[in-house]
């Protein structure tokens, strides 16, 4: 009736299961990420044009990297990117947090409204860039109609070199301030009510409560969101490419856009690989910051 002590040996051991579960993923990631990056590093030390595969790469040492340092266009691209990142993230943060403060109360339909507001950030950035092109069209765009009474003239948002970048900032803010709002709301909700109650009993002012209870407790989350958005804004390609292709001129040419053009329009492959590596370093620095912070918030090592 009872089962004997020694039984089927067919079962996989814990170690075998662990290997089976981990190996495929790690192999895939190494193959699709690490290997290409090593190849890319190799190419960055060569002069190569991928549209002419017949001509083999020619080793040029660090020439590509030094060329980067002296390339005024590249610095201009970085500048554009930095401007974009600072403006967009600041706007998203302020608007997102502000709206969260407004929404931080119970009202009917809160759940539905929150979901609706989240829709913009779930859309494809490329497609968002596309339909904003229509809205921003100086002739029959919606925005033009709405602000015409104030400006008395058409503003060619995306084709004017002074308004193109702000327009992109506007689109990005439209897409992503809901994200900031979401995070802020979550943070605000997580503050235990009894802290506010204790402060009220001690007759603290509204500002005092905000500064000493709310802010310190939601700061970690906000920082997380800030780092995340900064990383994302820095990488931005899809929306910019579809909306302006970097133009007019190079007024909206972010580093990603510049890299794309260099690699797949001008086919300066070797130099593009070098630039890609520089970007890689920056992104890894930023994302390690993000990941460590994320792990801390999640309560892991």
């Amino acid at each position: 009736m009872t089962v004997t002590l020694a039984r089927r040996r067919r079962a996989l051991s814990d170690y075998q299961v662990k290997m089976l579960f981990l190996m495929p993923t790690l192999l895939l990631l190494v193959g699709m990420n690490v290997f290409p990056l090593i190849w890319s590093l190799h190419l960055s030390f060569h002069d190569y044009a991928a549209d002419m595969p017949g001509r083999p790469p020619r080793a040029v040492g660090v020439a590509n990297y030094t060329a980067l340092l002296h390339d005024p266009n590249l610095w201009r691209n970085f500048q554009v990117t930095a401007e974009f990142v600072v403006l967009a993230v600041a706007a998203q943060f302020l608007i997102g947090f502000g709206v969260a403060l407004l929404l931080n109360r119970e009202f009917k339909g809160k759940g539905l409204i929150t979901t609706l507001i989240l829709l913009p950030m779930m859309l494809s950035p490329a497609v968002v860039g596309l339909f904003w092109k229509l809205i921003l069209d100086p002739n029959w765009g919606l925005l033009d109609f709405l602000i015409r009474p104030v400006t008395h003239a058409s503003v060619p948002w995306l084709t004017n070199d002074r308004t193109a970048l702000p327009a992109l900032v506007m689109i990005d803010t439209w897409m992503w301030s809901p994200f900031m709002m979401l995070i802020s709301l979550a943070g605000l909700n997580a503050v235990p009510r009894h802290l506010y109650e204790a402060a009220e009993v001690d007759r603290a002012s509204g500002w005092f409560k905000f500064r000493h209870i709310t802010l310190p407790l939601i700061a970690p989350l906000l920082l997380l969101a800030l780092i995340f958005r900064t990383m994302d804004a820095f990488k931005l390609f899809d929306m910019v490419w579809v909306a302006t292709e970097g133009g007019p001129g190079d007024v909206t040419k972010t580093v990603s856009v510049g890299l794309y053009v260099q690699a797949f329009r001008e086919w300066r492959t070797g130099e593009a690989c070098a630039l890609a590596y520089v970007l890689l370093v920056v992104i890894i620095a930023l994302s390690s910051l993000y990941i460590r912070w994320l792990s801390r918030i999640r309560g892991e090592a």
Binding site: L12, V17, K18, F21, L22, T25, L28, L29, G31, M32, N33, F35, P36, L37, W39, L43, A50, P53, V99, L102, L103, F107, I113, L116, L118, L119, P120, L123, A126, L130, W132, K133, L134, W140, L142, W174, P178, I183, A186, L224, K235, F237, D238, W241, V242, S256, L259, A263, F264, A272, C273, A276, L279, I283, I284, L286, Y290, I291, R298, E300
Partner: protein
């Protein structure tokens, strides 16, 4: 009185915010249903007679009935590539997440760091060598090529999210199954997976949306055979008179699944958007 005034102001502000966020979306949806004349009307028309012309033009070739238009073909590619890569990413991700959750591995946090950092890389950076690699291997403009890439792209995100879900399932359940006579693998399938279903579903939706929306890789690595919708739709703009109606229709058709999924998964949105940092 102050309380009520505040409340009214707040609600008004909420209303304004809603309008600002939803108006562009409404506009595109409306444009897709407008006749050409209505689209170009100045001032823009809020009221109009809707038409299905634009959608018809997208999916049907003139005079040939239900044929595969270029747009329909691209949309189908998107469906195929997004679905397959999601299924693969979830399968791999679930297993890996379980392994990281239950088995203490040396250097685990470093591995997790590596995995997540692959997700943080700008596509434009990764795409150059992948392009060369694919060209050399004959994977350029193939479904398989893009599926593999999207799987790699999504599995890292899936692992992070799913590990969070797995961590929440107490390990006592598997231990009870182990004591009851099941092997580790059987315990995983019979006891853990059923409880992880909600997490797996939420993660799947995020992977689907991510693959569906992807633009940069598709732009570089595909051309005609395997091209997905995102690089195609904007490319239609340049040809002659801008067919905004059709573009709007294409956009709406493309955005619709995402909207539906977002709504279905609304309870887990916060989690997915923050890589599992926040739950509710």
């Amino acid at each position: 009185m102050n309380g009520r005034l505040k409340r009214t102001l707040a609600l008004t502000a909420v209303g304004v915010v809603l309008v600002i966020y939803l108006l562009p979306i409404y506009w595109i949806v409306a444009t897709s249903f407008k006749e050409y004349g209505d689209i170009l009307a100045r001032p823009p028309r809020f009221l109009f007679v809707p038409t299905l012309r634009n959608y018809a033009a997208l999916f049907l070739l003139p005079g040939q009935g239900l044929q595969a238009t270029p747009f329909a073909a691209r949309l189908l590619n998107s469906v195929i590539i997004a679905s397959f890569s999601t299924v693969l990413a979830i399968a791999l991700g679930t297993m890996t997440a379980y392994a990281f959750s239950r088995f203490r591995t040396r250097g685990q946090s470093d591995w997790l760091f590596f995995i997540l950092s692959t997700r943080m890389l700008p596509p434009v950076v990764v795409v150059i060598p992948v392009f060369l690699m694919y060209r050399a291997l004959g994977l350029f403009d193939t479904h398989v090529g893009l599926i593999m890439l999207y799987t790699a792209f999504n599995v890292s995100f899936a692992v992070w999210l799913l590990k969070g879900f797995m961590d929440e399932i107490p390990k006592e359940y598997e231990e009870a199954a182990l004591v009851d006579g099941y092997s580790r693998l059987q315990a995983f399938v019979r006891v853990v997976l059923p409880q992880a279903v909600a997490g797996i579903a939420a993660t799947s939706v995020f992977c689907l949306i991510s693959a569906w929306n992807e633009f940069a890789f598709a732009l570089v690595l595909t051309q005609r055979t395997a091209q997905t919708a995102p690089p195609y739709i904007p490319s239609v703009v340049g040809s002659g008179a801008t067919e905004w109606g059709r573009i709007a229709a294409g956009t709406v058709a493309f955005l619709l699944p995402v909207a539906i999924f977002t709504f279905i998964m609304r309870k887990h949105l916060l989690r997915g958007a923050t890589f599992g940092a926040l739950k509710r």
